[in-house]
Amino acid sequence: MLLEKDENKIPRFSFRPFKIIENIQIASNTFLLVVESANSLDHFSAKPFNFFNIWVPRVDEIPLSIAYQNGKRLFFLYKLRGLGTKTLAQQKVGSFIGIKGPLGRGFEPKRSEKWLIVAGGIGIAPIPMLIKRALELDAKLDIFWGVRVSTEFFDIAKIFGLPNEAWSIVRVSEDCMADFCGLVIDAIRSVNVDKYDGIIAIGPQEMLKTFCKQYGESRENTYVSLETIVKCGMGICGSCYIRESEKLLCVDGPVFRCSEVAKQLEGASA
């Protein structure tokens, strides 16, 4: 279920200072960032699939999904890509970064629902937060997580201390070192999706495109969490627009129904 946006935007759209508590590599090319608000009065509550824009001073502003929240502590999982993420990985514990958010709309199952989750690569990032919320909502999640090489895996249950109930995870890797060998999109072919209240996929655009082709046309409750270029995160700069749609990813997303982003995903192959 797509959630509403928060009320007062001024604090959400400002960079609030957060202190880096941890910033460590946890898998190949993948980092865990833990930050804590420097302002004891700072109050926010992120929802699953909200994201935050992380300001790496003088370098970039990078959108990252909230991986977990614990009071004033925010957790992010990120993959090294270009200058921004690499510079982020160099930030030292104890130093400050600026954080804008929560941005976008949250997304979560309804009470007692059962959802199928398909994550590709770092697409796993928002899932710990989703599990946390599912536990609260008495919902069930079956997660398929696919990566290219199994060194990309890390143990979300252990990192975030998630109890092993109400959710299952099947690991899929192209190097055949996990539960299933191949693409995650192939791994779910055998699953009876009809027994779920909804399904959501998050990962590379190619994967989402295939996913929506297979499941999005016949089923209403098929969602994807997209990526576009996010600059401002505030609905102003227009860089995150969805092709042939009025929607902006940073305001209305990142989660959309497959039907809303058909044209956008088409473009992905180009």
């Binding site: 946006k5 009320e7 935007k9 001024i10 604090p11 959400r12 759209f13 400002s14 960079f15 200072p17 420097a38 824009n53 300001w55 001073p57 003088r58 370098v59 970039d60 502003e61 130093s95 400050f96 970064i97 600026g98 804008k100 600059k231 401002c232 505030m234 609905g235 102003i236 700069c237 227009g238 627009y241 969805i242 092709r243 042939e244 749609s245 009025e246 929607k247 902006l248």
Partner: protein, 309 residues
Amino acid sequence: MALNRLALMTSLAGIELRHPLMNASGFLGYTREHVHRLASYGLSAIVTKTITPYAKEGYEPPIIVALRNGGLLNAVGLENPGKKCIAELVEEARKINVPLIISVGGRNEEEFVEVAIEAEENSATAIELNLSCPHTKGYGLEIGSDPNNVFSVVKAVASVTRIPVIAKLGLSDRVVESAGKALEAGAKGLTLINTVKAMAIDVHTLKPILTNIFGGLSGPPIHPIAVRVVYEVFKEYRSEIIGCGGVSSWIDAAEFIAAGAKAVQVGTALALANNPQDLVSNILQGLQHWLELHGYKVVEEAVGSAHRV
């Protein structure tokens, strides 16, 4: 409450408007999808992002940030796809039947003319010359703070286009003089004002927040400055003015109209609103009540009413 369509109608530089409220340039406005989204807000006209002759990359983010004082600070760097996008924007606006004003930018007269011709050839409704961006080197205020430059750019554009030319001026010492020069050179209307040059420093990292260091301040903080400029310019020339800067409620819009504006642009408040549609309709409802309160039958009668003291 249903809006009284007749009371809210206005016109600006010969453009008929359903009501006085349009968006400010730079809030979306350079793709077909943007135009569509803006139209859904219920605005009476759409102003594009400032378009330069060729595609222009903006600055690296951070490009826009909210400030503690309730305003925004931005240095986007006039990022836009170049004049080639104009055809698509006009087409989209025509489909949904809303007037489209092309905001035009350039580093010199030739560049302004080049984009203006493209706008005219595609039958855009009007042109707004951005002579006022306070933070993009070589553009905007670097041209617009000198009344003589304002004159020559407006003159160059007005003499090659038949669609109305609106000059958008920013805060500067001689803004009243610049306004006069723009009118003299053929501008049919004036948009007043753009953002005000400002900056923000993050005290935890000791770094300027914007990648460009300097940016433009917008939103409620600049509203009383903008009202002052509108009032001064109207007083001097009784010209057609679009008030811009910090409008976030009907009161702000009414202040602009009382100061002399026939139309009003909203930028920052659209981004800070939870629901831009509601924002627009609340402002319009407030304005309508306000007109009734004073017994004005049409917006026109309220324009410049604060000068009758």
